[in-house]
């Protein structure tokens, strides 16, 4: 995370979890970035990332995993939409990509 901030970059992570759930997760994993709560999956919908029927708890559909890198003007300059929820993007890949942006 320090390496990412050193590149004048920030991280926002979005899920349908409530702020309360996110607070616990952030405390447990000692996360220093923002975990944003999208309980109705409205932003998830805006990004086209709804995974219909995948929420065992009912309520809103959860997001399929995806990661975007935005430049300083909010343009999406890089994205990854994995086909598997088990395999995760490596932080170093993101750091390398951030380094490529002015």
């Amino acid at each position: 995370m320090d390496e990412i901030r050193a590149l004048d970059s920030e991280v926002l992570a979005i899920s349908v979890d409530s702020p309360e759930q996110s607070r616990k997760l952030a405390a447990k994993k000692r996360l220093s970035f923002s975990l944003l709560s999208d309980p109705e999956a409205q932003v998830i919908e805006l990004f086209g990332l709804r995974h219909p029927g995948a929420n065992p708890m009912g309520e809103a559909d959860i997001a399929r995993p995806a990661t975007f890198i935005l430049d300083r003007e909010g343009h999406i300059v890089w994205k990854i939409i994995p086909d598997n929820w088990r395999i995760r993007i490596r932080p170093q890949t993101l750091i390398d990509q951030l380094g490529l942006i002015e």
Binding site: E10, A13, L25, S37, P56, F68, I69, R72, G74
Partner: protein
Amino acid sequence: MSLENKKSAVSVTPLSIRMRNHSVWLGPLIVFLGAVSYFIYFAQFPVLRDFPWINFPVVLLGCWVNLIAIKRAFGRSDLYRGKLMAALSMAFSILLTALFASYIGYISYQLPAPTETTQGLSIAPEFVLSDQNGQEVDLSDFRGKKLIVTFYRGHW
């Protein structure tokens, strides 16, 4: 003399003193630990998460131990007891191995294809959401900074 003793001991071993076939419970135990330890421990290491380099061999080792149990129970039933237990434990090991393999190679791939919306995005849609401390976070506040926006499934 001792050899003769041994021979006769084998041929008349009563059921009650036939040797216990430890591989009967060791096999499924190794399979179980091999599969479960992926989720509770090894998945935190990216290389071992992407492909279970440790867990798959352990699970297969468990199946192999279980095969020994089968071989002993059925092939040397004069020496070992527990045909039924050997068969049951083998069934358990095979089932769990199949489940683990299908999670790694199939179940975790059950995601919808990327939508056209996602594919076509060139500018991030505006949003304001609450963070884990109840503070409103507005995407537009990050203009001038580079940003990673990541979506995750939640319910951890």
